[in-house]
């Protein structure tokens, strides 16, 4: 459903994305791995719409994403989560997700009715928090949540947009062992319901979850295929460990 073709992006003399191709099937969990500096962050920026590629195309179910602004891409079904948590710190967990739900429903030019008591917002929001395991902490302000809980909230907010393709930017970042296991279980539970592009450094997570893996180096896709094939691929080993 996601089709990236020939994507190129340079910053002055630095080539960040180099004729990059990637295809993701519906319901597939596709992992993107690569050494530091491979260009993964730039790629996410281009997918999300914060960066404009110099060349190439991105299609989501045939729709040309490059013509859409970041908010419009969300409406088209592509949502990203952030590596550095970007939740609304001064609002409660419930308020955060309720706001996402409100934007998804689309009626925000309402000036009178109080949002906090609107069941059409709080019920789905509560359900989403329950799904990620944050229901008991729903009324805690985000800045008082632990880092792991904030990562859960981050995921809940992304999921609340009901995406067809979810861009996960290092969801394991900063998580301890048990928190990471919980997050992995969460993502495993989502498999099949939506397509996911998982950018991650944590190899355990990647090999536990991925249906297919693409390896990126210097802006190019140097290998792409099933996890076992990638694990055995000498090109991939060289990329991570350096060519002999």
């Amino acid at each position: 459903m996601l089709d990236i073709s020939g994507l190129c992006k340079r910053f002055g003399g630095l080539v960040a994305t180099d004729a990059f191709n990637l295809a993701i099937a519906p319901g597939e969990l596709h992992a993107l791995i690569g050494p530091n500096g491979a260009g993964k962050t730039t790629l996410i920026g281009q997918l999300a719409g914060e960066l404009h590629p110099d060349a190439g195309t991105i299609h989501l179910d045939g729709a040309d994403l490059l013509a859409l602004s970041p908010p419009a891409r969300v409406k088209a079904g592509l949502t990203r989560s952030f590596q550095i948590t970007q939740v609304l710190m001064q609002s409660t967990a419930l308020d955060n997700v309720a706001l996402v739900e409100q934007i998804r429903q689309g009626h925000s030019f309402r000036f009178w009715r109080q949002a906090a008591s609107d069941r059409r917002l709080t019920d789905p929001a509560m359900a989403m928090l329950d799904r990620v395991g944050l229901a008991p902490r729903a009324h805690i302000t985000a800045e008082n949540l632990s880092h792991g809980e904030r990562r859960q909230l981050e995921l809940a907010m992304a999921l609340a947009t009901r995406p067809r393709l979810l861009l996960l930017d290092e969801p394991m970042a900063g998580l301890g062992a048990s928190e990471a296991a919980a997050m992995t279980a969460l993502l495993a539970g989502l498999k099949g319901q939506l397509a996911m592009l998982l950018v991650e450094h944590d190899m355990d997570t990647v090999f536990a979850l991925a249906d297919r893996i693409t390896v990126m180096q210097n802006g190019r896709a140097i290998a792409s295929g099933l996890p076992d094939a990638i694990r055995a691929d000498p090109v991939v080993r060289d990329a991570y460990l350096g060519a002999p």
């Binding site: 952030f82 609002s91 009715r113 949002a115 302000t141 008082n144």
Partner: protein
């Protein structure tokens, strides 16, 4: 929006003071207190409008005085034309003049906001300043409407049941307007629109990433804050029966920003306290020394450096779990 018990007590006291002001003024033979009270109420309206933009949406505008002045001049210009006979006399009735003073700044804000909101940060501050200066110079240049000397209005806009020279009645009108504006903004802040604005303030990037086209909401906030300031301008010119280009000067915009910060950014009741502090400082310090502004400067500096949550936040005391005067 949960106020602490101390805040509620202070609010009640303030409300009582306001309502009783004419009686106090009569008892102490100080009719100027009523003018002072009206001024505070009017400034509080303007400041509340700015707080919606600055405190709630996170858009620091250095041009707010322009809307104040435009609202005021609308009323004065209508009166001038009515007196000359080029417009029918009913344009000086409040039911026409005051909505006009609200709509005209709002329409201009729609156009200007659409331009200004394409910039962010310090450029936004500067471009709002620039547009306000443009209007300032425009009114200075319009000799037909007084130019440098300002434009006087022979009598206040006609209100039903109220005699034009009844200062006490006019004071209560201002108070009622303030109450309406504050109540409306309070509802607004907790509405869907208000939560969107707050989200934009906290993290605009995230808002875009969850599918919100932020521009139209920022523009709506910009227009609404201008409309509120326009009302304040109309009341101001009614109070003094005089419109002056000084109302649009950038130092007025600066003072409005000071009042917002003094009162507490984003705290819906703060504008009243910020406006009161400023107006009272103006009035009482000026009695002691011609050079009272030498005190105002350091007060402002201290307020910025030390009191992050403003007067309203200080009244509220330490709040657990929040970093602004905001629920």
């Amino acid at each position: 929006m949960a106020e602490t018990p101390r805040q509620i007590a202070v609010l009640a006291l303030a409300a009582a003071l306001f309502v009783a002001l004419p009686a106090i003024a009569a008892a102490t033979a100080r009719p100027d207190l009523i003018t002072l009270g009206s001024q505070i109420a009017i400034m509080a309206i303007a400041v509340a409008g700015l707080d919606l933009l600055m405190g709630r949406t996170g858009l620091p505008s250095f041009g707010h005085a322009a809307w104040l002045g435009l609202g005021g001049y609308t009323v004065a210009i209508l009166a001038t034309h009515a007196a000359q006979g080029s417009l029918p006399p009913w344009v000086t009735q409040a039911w026409f003049a005051w909505p006009a003073a609200i709509v005209i700044p709002a329409v201009l804000a729609l156009a200007i906001g659409a331009l200004c909101l394409r910039t962010t940060g310090i450029s936004f501050i500067m471009i709002t300043l620039a547009f306000a200066q443009m209007f300032f110079f425009l009114f200075i240049a319009l000799k037909a409407y007084g130019g440098d000397d300002g434009l006087s209005m022979r009598r206040r806009n006609a209100l039903p049941f109220i005699a034009p020279r009844d200062d006490v009645a006019f004071f209560y009108v201002c108070l009622a307007a303030l109450a309406l504006v504050l109540f409306g903004l309070r509802r607004l802040a907790a509405s869907r629109f208000g939560t969107v604005l707050d989200g934009i303030r906290q993290n605009e990037r995230r808002m875009a990433a969850i599918g919100l086209a932020t521009f139209r909401y920022k523009l709506a906030a910009f227009v609404l804050s201008a409309a509120i300031a326009g009302l304040a301008g109309a009341l101001h010119v009614n109070l003094f029966r005089f419109a002056s280009p000084d109302l649009l000067h950038w130092t007025m915009s600066g003072e409005l920003m000071v009042m917002v910060v003094l009162g507490g950014l984003g705290s819906l009741w703060g504008p009243v306290f910020g406006a009161a502090a400023m107006v009272l400082l103006h009035a009482f310090l000026a009695q002691w020394t011609e050079h009272w502004q030498i005190v105002l400067g350091p007060i402002l500096i201290a307020a910025v450096l030390l009191a992050r949550r403003g007067l309203w936040g200080a009244v509220g005391g330490r709040r657990r779990g929040a970093s602004g005067g905001r629920a």
